[in-house]
Amino acid sequence: MVRAKAGLLASLVICSLVLSVLIIFGQPVPNSGGRGTGPWFGPKPGLHEISLPGRIYICSPNQGAILIETLSQTYSDLVLTLGQMEYGSEKGGDVWVTGEYTSDSITPGVLFRYDYQISRGLLANWLTMFYETDFPFASIDSVFVPLDGGPVKFINSATGVLWQLQADLPLSVFQQAAAEPRNPAAYPMAVMGQGETYSVAAGIFDLVEAQEIAVPACQLEEVRIEDIIHSFFLNPSIILEADGTETYTDGFGALRIFPSGALEYTSGRQGQGAVFWDQPQLMQATIDFLVAHGGWPGNMLPVYLSNRPGESVSLEFCSFSKGLPITGENVGIAVEFQQDQVSDYQRHLALAAEEAVEIYAEIKPLAWHLASDSQAGQFFAEGNKHISDLALAFYWQQDRLIPVWRVWTGNQVVHVAASDGRILQIKIQLGGQ
């Protein structure tokens, strides 16, 4: 009788355990194998390739500077050299000195400039000898390497603070680049002075004088529409909109193919995971998404990264031609994240034509335009605007490229035609440069 009771209790315990396992882990699911791979759009770039600066200025003793061609050989040499920088071996090499960033901070040397605030985590992917925690700052937008062997300056021009570090790096590369840029598209520049109706931040370079610039021919990226559609949907429905736009959708996301060839993907799903606040993670997720949905074209760098805590995060990438980014209205690649999911993806990439027929256009210094009666002059004369950054770019309009000045003032980026001072676009950037 006692054994029967013990057996009954033991069977109850075993049944309870089995039921508990079923409840906790669910019914066993047979392995049905993988889903299979989607279309392949090419190799995936490393983070070190997209954490590079958008511009490099080689500054001379008389406050002049040369803007070298981005993604050129000189550019590559310089970024690779700086990427090998490490703490100085002499005494005090690991001591960071904080200072104020002024125009005087620019001495003969090389200025690496970003269009956005790069975080120290992403910066560590370029400066590979440093860990993220080695940097005492959260983010910067410039790195200045003096040619005289002085400390390297990490600059946040938005806050006017710089951090100096005595570092070891082969200065000869920088000195040689300064002596002989070997860069056909180098643009002589000088520090932009303060105007009567506007103010200029420190370290802003404008053209020294008007000059002609070779404008490349360009074409829209040829995308593999079918592959991109199938990268998003297994069996989408198509909606033909009134203007001829084709919209592919499964009800939760929609891929629009505009008659212009631009692509726009919109997701109706709400993100469930954590929010990307870390730039390396965000960049990596962006790379993964782009590589899976259209591919990563070469000669492309990020030109904008929003930084609005608690809201969506947006990134913009532009392709580069002749060392300058090709921008324009809805041109480039824009990715918006809602939490950990892409909620909006636009792709309208202008690329330099392989057999480019170059034409030349005259570009004038921005100061010249601001001093004239041009649209730009009138715009900047209102309210004594402050110019926080300035860069040359190509603006894609009506199937051709127009040299423009991208002028950052407040939360706006004003695209001013470099030839006549017309304002082609005013773009509002929320949360960061």
């Binding site: 006692v2 009771k5 009954l8 109850l12 429905s237 909606i239 033909l240 909109e241 009134a242 203007d243 919209t247 959708t249 499964d250 009800g251 939760f252 996301g253 929609a254 629009r256 919109t266 997701s267 109706g268 799903r269 709400q270 909006d344």
Partner: protein, 591 residues
């Protein structure tokens, strides 16, 4: 339902029912929430997507044609009813089949909320379809300006149907689980209840007085330990019970054998206890008294506070003593202790009479002596003959007083004297006495005949006392026999030596036979005094006979004669004789 087994099963079932209900409510709630969340999420995604797609058709006024085409195809894709409204709540485009709604204004609360820029939802029951519907609205922004609203709904029919199915499945499962658990619970409860029943049986047996530890429960748990403790308790109780019974028997034995009467009354006068002695005295039945006796059954106890004289032939005199009956320091009733003082009372009377007799007997000669002495003193010139006669009287009275005092001393000495017996020959004593009184008998013309067998055994005794015993009896026979014969004989029979003195005297009246051994009792006082008796002779004789383990029996018939028998145990026998009745055939004999 009084069995613990059923109570345990009931508790099992109630607990399980409660757990199942709790689990069911929680699970159904979770599942419904999951379904609703999924359904809402799907609708929200569709609405969000449509809002994004429709955004470019609001610039800022709605492009009705473009929106209608978009909504028409989108509705077909997602299979939902959707409205696109302008920023005032008016329908700009609608799903296929709902086109008549275009241009009408929707004023549902969720639409009004969306117009305010806040997404909103609600669940309502549509009586037309007899279904619940979930409605959701989301504002559409174009260049950060609110330009329109997406308004969509979805039926909850599938959710409600799934929940109904879930409830049915849960209810069925719960009933099956309850039945199975009740069965298993019954079996398990039985394993608990069985040893408890055994313990209960043992307790009931103990209640009936069976303290034998007999629980046999092989369990190493609380019940096993309880059974073990119960067995130990039973053994302890058995020991205690035996002790209590012994004490009770002892007390009952004491009460039964108590010569005193004992009645215990409670505070209402009911009989709590009465012993056999009291029952005998009052002539009541003990059990009846214990069942329904009250103080009213003993009226004598209420009337007399000290002495109680029981009526009837017994003539018993009792002395009652009342004591409080205390239990735990509180008075619970009264203990009445009754002592038989009949003999003591009689002795007191005898003592008083003895003192009075002694006083009287001593005062009489003293009075005589005083009278004669006063006469001689007042008449000193009386003649010598008179004086001599007076002095002789005084001398005679003084002798009588001396004899009386000597007799009293003898009596007193006999009472306090310790036994120092030795072998004595009664034959020799009787011969000596015969020689001593033969002259006295001859003087009265009496024949004194002494017949003694040769092999008369000896007895253990005091020779002087035995001499006085037999002398008093024989002298009495001579003194109260005017003519005739006095015969003294002895024989041995049944380990007794019996001395018999017969006379042919005046005899003793029958009414005096009972008192002749009393001190100073005389049948004829004048004659006795004349004969020189003190009234103590027979008392002394009886006292000596009893000291030697014998007695004095008198058989007398007035006018015929008296026979006095004195049985005494021969040496080697210690048996004390019972005094036979002193009445019977009359014989002469005086004290």
């Amino acid at each position: 339902m009084k069995s613990i087994q059923w109570k345990l099963v009931l508790v099992y079932i109630l607990l399980l029912l409660f757990a199942l209900e709790l689990f069911g409510v929680y699970m159904l709630s979770s599942i419904e929430n999951y379904f609703m969340r999924d359904l809402k999420s799907g609708l929200h995604n569709h609405v969000q997507l449509l809002a994004s797609l429709a955004e470019r058709y609001y610039t800022p006024l709605p492009d009705t044609e473009g929106l209608q085409q978009l909504v028409g195809q989108f509705s077909n894709v997602v299979n939902r009813e959707v409205y696109l409204l302008d920023k005032y709540g008016k329908v700009a485009a609608a799903s296929p089949g709902l086109e008549p709604m275009i241009g009408t204004e929707i004023v549902q609360p969720e639409v009004l909320s969306a117009i305010q820029g806040k997404p909103a939802d609600s669940i309502r029951f549509d009586e037309r379809f007899e279904q619940r519907f979930y409605y959701y609205t989301q504002p559409i922004y174009s260049n950060n300006l609110l330009t329109g609203v997406v308004y969509a709904s979805t039926s909850l029919r599938q959710v409600d149907a799934a929940m109904r199915q879930m409830r049915t499945a849960l209810l069925t499962g719960a009933v099956l689980a309850l039945i199975l658990s009740a069965f298993l619970g019954l079996r398990l409860a039985r394993t608990l209840a069985h040893p408890l029943r055994k313990i209960t049986s043992q307790a009931e047996a103990m209640k009936s007085g069976d303290f034998q530890p007999s629980l046999d429960i092989n369990a190493d748990d609380e019940i096993g330990r309880l059974a073990e403790t119960f067995n130990e308790l039973a053994a302890q109780l058995q020991l205690s019970w035996d002790e209590v019974v012994q004490e009770k028997d002892k007390v009952e034995g004491i009460l039964i054998n108590l010569s005193d009467g004992l009645i215990v009354l409670d505070h209402e006068g009911r009989v709590m206890h009465i012993n056999a002695t009291a029952c005998n005295w009052f002539g009541v039945n003990k059990q009846k008294m214990l069942d329904q006796g009250t103080a009213a059954d003993f009226p004598q106890l209420q009337e007399a506070q000290g002495m109680i004289y029981l009526e009837g032939t017994l003539g018993i005199v009792l002395r009652q003593q009342r004591l409080p009956f205390l239990q735990a320091g509180k008075k619970q009733g009264t203990i009445v202790v009754l002592s038989d003082i009949t003999e003591q009372n009689r002795l007191d009377q005898m003592r008083q009479e003895f003192v009075a007799n002694v006083s009287h007997e001593l005062r009489t000669p003293l009075t005589t002596i005083k009278t004669y002495l006063e006469t001689l003193m007042e008449n000193p010139n009386e003649s010598p003959e008179v004086q001599e006669r007076f002095l002789a009287v005084i001398n005679s009275e003084a002798d009588r007083m001396v004899r009386m005092i000597e007799d009293l001393l003898i009596l007193s000495r006999n009472e306090s004297r310790s036994k120092q017996f030795r072998l004595v020959s009664v034959q020799e004593i009787l011969k000596d006495i015969s020689k001593a009184v033969s002259g006295q008998a001859s003087a009265k013309g009496l024949d004194l005949e002494v017949r003694l067998p040769r092999n008369l055994p000896k007895i253990m005794g005091d020779r002087d006392q035995l001499y006085r015993l037999f002398l008093n009896i024989i002298q009495n026979a001579i003194n109260y026999t005017a003519a005739g014969r006095v015969t003294v004989s002895a024989s041995s029979r049944n380990k007794y030596l019996e001395v018999i003195v017969r006379d042919t005297g005046i005899g003793i009246p029958a009414e005096a036979l009972g008192r002749i051994f009393e001190r100073f009792y005389r049948v004829d006082k004048a004659r006795s005094r004349k004969a020189g008796g003190t009234g103590l002779g027979l008392s002394i004789a009886k006292q000596i006979a009893e000291l030697h383990g014998g007695t004095v029996n008198i058989f007398s018939q007035e006018g015929v004669g008296t026979e006095v028998t004195i049985p005494l145990p021969v040496a080697g026998t210690e048996t004390r004789l019972q005094s036979p009745a002193t009445t019977g055939r009359n014989n002469n004999g005086q004290s």
